[in-house]
Every structure is written in structure tokens, then in C-alpha cells.
Amino acid sequence: MMLALLSSVLDAAPPLVFAALGATVSERAGVVNVGVEGMMRAGAFAAAVAALALPTPVGVLVGMAAGAAVAAVHGWLSIRARADQVVSGMALNLVMLALGTFLLEAWFNSPSSTPSITQLPLWGGHSPLTWLALALPFVVHLLVARTPWGLRLRAAGEKPQAVAAMGVRVNALRFGAVVLSGALAGLGGAALSCATLDRFEHHMPSGLGFMAVAAMVFGRWTPLGAAGAATFFAFGNALRISLTSSAPQLAELVPRGVLMALPYALTLLVLSVQGGRNVAPAALGQPYDAELR
């Protein structure tokens, strides 16, 4: 039972882990990303569509590119056009929600899902994305915490004027971070349609993007923390599903909806205990203005 549970956590975690890492990268650079949900949706859809004609691994790459493309719009709007970053993210969520439904109907004459694709082959009983989800948090951690680029990235989120004084173009740096963030969210979406399932379904990612944002906050805006929280939340999801099938009496005792609310409630609890001000990047949400010193 424990082993089976662990195994299902390994399978459920990748979408959430990738997306949480994506959210973290963007927000550490100072750009709010509540558009993760839409970027995941773009990734899930594009990956499934591409995998109908191309090998599935290529489909996953297309999914990443789609996520990055949506993120580029977010970056352009919030960095160049000075849009409110929250508005831009939420607008993209709404557009992607509707666009996915529209294209599903237009291309596949279906309100519910794309045709089935070949799932990613299993390596050692699990999808390669599972192994990637175990390794990537450490890679992103090293990138953010130990490289010059990571230092600049973090500084752009805390005190962009300081980065500019070093001769670094803050806006270009932030744009890069946002696009990378979208690629990671797109990878998370692709993991849904190419590994968790074998097609794009109309409700994808059904709120996982927001759960990824919760994981980022829960993990205090650090890659390892975010990935850890994402895994913890995925564990919660897996536990919930396995409880319903293996121990229905217990599931009766603790209703499904309560378990589903738990990640968000816990995040709120942690926030209310430790306070929000000293954890989030200091310049989060503020467009960089070269004239402000």
C-alpha cells in the first residue's frame, strides 16, 4: 500500500513540480505569474496536438514552446506595455481556457478531448518526466542560487535598480525569466497530456496551475521549497485518490472536498502565521522604472 502510494505520487507530481518551479523562476525575477494555469493549458494542448503527428518527446518540446509563447505575451504585456502583472496573467488564463475549448471543437470536432496519442515510454516503471521532476528542482536551485545569472535574477526581484547599476538590462533579464517560467509551466502541462494521460482533455489543467502558485508560496519562493511543496500536495492528491478506492470507510470520514481544500488552507495558514511581507521578493509586481532610484 505504501509502495503503491509512493509510486502514484511519483506519477502525479511532475506537472505540479514543473509548474511550481516555473512560477518560482518568474516571481524571483520580480514578475508575478498567476498565468501558470493558462501556460500549462497551452502546453498540455500543444503537446497532445503535436504528438498526434510527431514522436511524443517532440510533442513535449512543442508543449514547452507553447507555454513559453504564452509567457512571452505575459512578459511583453507586463514588462514592455506596463500592464498590471496580475491582470495580464489572469487575462491569459481566461484566453487560454476559451482558446483550448475553441480549438478542440474546431480541429477535432469534440467538446471533450483530443484523440489518443502514444504516451511517453516508461523508464524503470515510470515516465521519464518523473525522473526529470526529481532532478530538475536541484538544477533550478543551483541555477538560481549558485550562478551569476541566478544572482542577477534574484536581485532583479529584490532591488532592480542595483542590477541596473551593474550594467545589466533588468527588463531583458526579467523577460528571459518569464519565458523560462512559461517553458517550465508548458512542460508541466505536457506532462499531464503525454504522461499522466494520453490525450488533452477539455478541463486540463483543472486548477493545477493555481496549486503550483500555492506550492511556490508554501515553499517560500525557493525552487527546492516550491518543488517540495508541490510533491507534498501531489502526495495529498494521491492519498485522496487511493483512500477513495482502498478505504472507502475512511474516505467517508474525511470527505474528498476537505482534502482537496487542504493545500490551499495550509498555505493560507502558513502565510498568516509567518506574515507575507518578509518572504515574497521585495520588488514583486513592480514594473522596473529606470528613473526611480
Binding site: 500592464a83 476559451a98 480541429w107 474528498r256 476537505v258 482537496m260
Partner: protein, 359 residues
Amino acid sequence: MRRALPSVLSVLAAIAVCFVAAGLTRGFDTAAEAFLAMLYGAFGDWPRYLETGNAAAVLRPLGESATKAAILTFTGLSVAVAFRVGLFNIGAQGQLVVGALTAAVLGAQVQLPAVLHLPLCLAGAALAGALWALLPAWLKLRRGVHEVISTIMLNWVAVSLVDNWLVTGPLRASAAGSNSISGTDEILPTAALPRLLPESSRLHLGIVLAALAAVVTWLFLTRFVRGFEWKVIGLSPEAARAAGVGVSRGLFSAMLLAGAFAGLGGAVLILGTEYKYPAALGAPWGFDGIAMALIGQGHPLGVLGTSTFFGGLRAGGTRMQLFGVHRSFPELMQGLALLFIAARLLWDRLLRRVGSAPR
């Protein structure tokens, strides 16, 4: 009027993009027919009315549009009043959900004459929404937690608890005495929003309440000292504090009002058309409120106008289904319009170039 220009242009651009998208996938002739059908479905099939004299051709679509416009107006006002004090209420969805549930429960479980029952349900829903908004306000003021994060979390707490537990579990319709298979018990007729037209149209009191709320909010924000204080808080909390305005009180009361409006949106949905809390709410009405508030430029009457327009398109959207275009297509227009309006700097530049008036 000048303030409305970016909104109008954004909406037109969004419609144009969507028309091209529909044209490229379904052919431009079909797209044109589908868009015409959508307009008839939104604002009435006037040609058919003039031809046959059948009033239902106009009244039925208008009724459908108005029911949707009422909900959008309330959630749009919710986001807009929070904006006024500089808060971003992403939580309208959660507030709407708890408001809707409260209305459904009060409407089904309490027995009162209609003059009391309907107001009780509306007040209960408003109170529930306001309470759900209390927490993010408190977290913001006392713990420094950004309201965007806390309201996102509370949305999903509300949706999980209500949709995946209460409505499928403890509050699920009792089998006897109810013909609903899923969702809560049906509300009693005394709690329903009265229909304004006979038979052919579902037009109900909701749109009147929504319009009233928009006008009252507009008067409050522009004609009352407290409303002016909110504006000052939104423009600069420091300046407001220096001028002796109670900033905390302003933020609290604006957020409570925002929650109440979203809760009322939920009540209108339940008491107007659903008559119970359904298994699935259908549309993310609370998130749509963000679009309504921004396209409406945060102005209560702008919100009312935007909601009426998009409420209409959504009602008309069902008719696009006949032409192979998904009925959620108007939501794509709405999303794109929001995206276009978001690029504020570009609009500022454009407006400065077009005219000389300062913003």
C-alpha cells in the same frame, strides 16, 4: 466618454480577431452567419419579430442576456470596488460560491412569505460573500499577506469545500420531495427572483437589482465623502493617512462590499435561473468579474455596460453551436479584450497622440 475609448477599441479588436479565427477554421461565410446568430441571440431577433410579429423572438434572447448580465455586473462591481481602494479581488469566484450556496440553502430550508424570504436569501448571500472576503482583508492589514495570493487560495478552498463536499455530501438534495438528481434541494418559489415577463422569457428581477447596485455604487463613489476617501486610499494610502483618512477602515469596508457584491452575484445565479446549487456552476463568473471591472474601466456604470454587452454575447453564443463554433466562444472575445485593455502604457501613448487632453 474619453475613458471608454480604449475599452471600445479593445472589444472591437477582440471581436475582429475572433471573427478571423472562426473564419479560418469554419469558413468566412459560416463565421458571418454564426456571428449574426450570436447577435440575434444576444439582443433579440428583430428581423424575425418584424416579419412575424412574434414578440418571443426578441424577448426570450433579451431575457437570457439579462440573466447573465446581472451576474456579471455583480462580480464586476465586486472587483471594481476593491480596485477603488487599490486591492485586487481575485477572490470574487470564492465569494460567489459561498454566496450562491447560502442563497440555495436559505431558499430551500426556510419557510417565509415571499416579501421576507427573497430579501433574506439575498442578504444571507451578501453576508456570506462579505465574510469570505473578511479573511483576505484581515491577512492583508494585519499580516501583510498580499490579497492576490490569499484570495486565490480562498477561491479553491471555497470551490473544494462546496462543490466537492457540501453539495455532493451533507447538503445534497434529499431524494424525496425533490426532482433534482444532483446539487442541493430546490429553493421554494417564495425565494425565487420574480419573473418580469410572461412565459416566453426568463427575464427576472436580477438585472434590475444589478443596475440599481451599479447606480448606487456610482453615486456612493462620486457623491459621498466616504466614497471619495476610498479613491484617495486607492491613489495613495500614504497621502490618505496624512490627510487623516482611516485607511484600514476603508480597505476593510471596500473588501466587505466587494465580497457582498460577489455573494449577491451567486444569489442571482441561484434564485434567478438555477433554483438550486447545481452540480457544476457552469462558468467562472467570479473570474469573469475581473474582465468586466477592467473593460468597464473600474467605473460602476462602465461595469454595467460591459456586463450587459458580454452577458448578451454569452447568451447568444449558444446559437453559434449550430455553426460548429463552441458556445464558449464569446468568452474568448472577453479574454482577448481584457488582454488588449491590459496594455495600459500603449493606450496612454495612443491617446496622447490622438488628442492633447491629459489623462
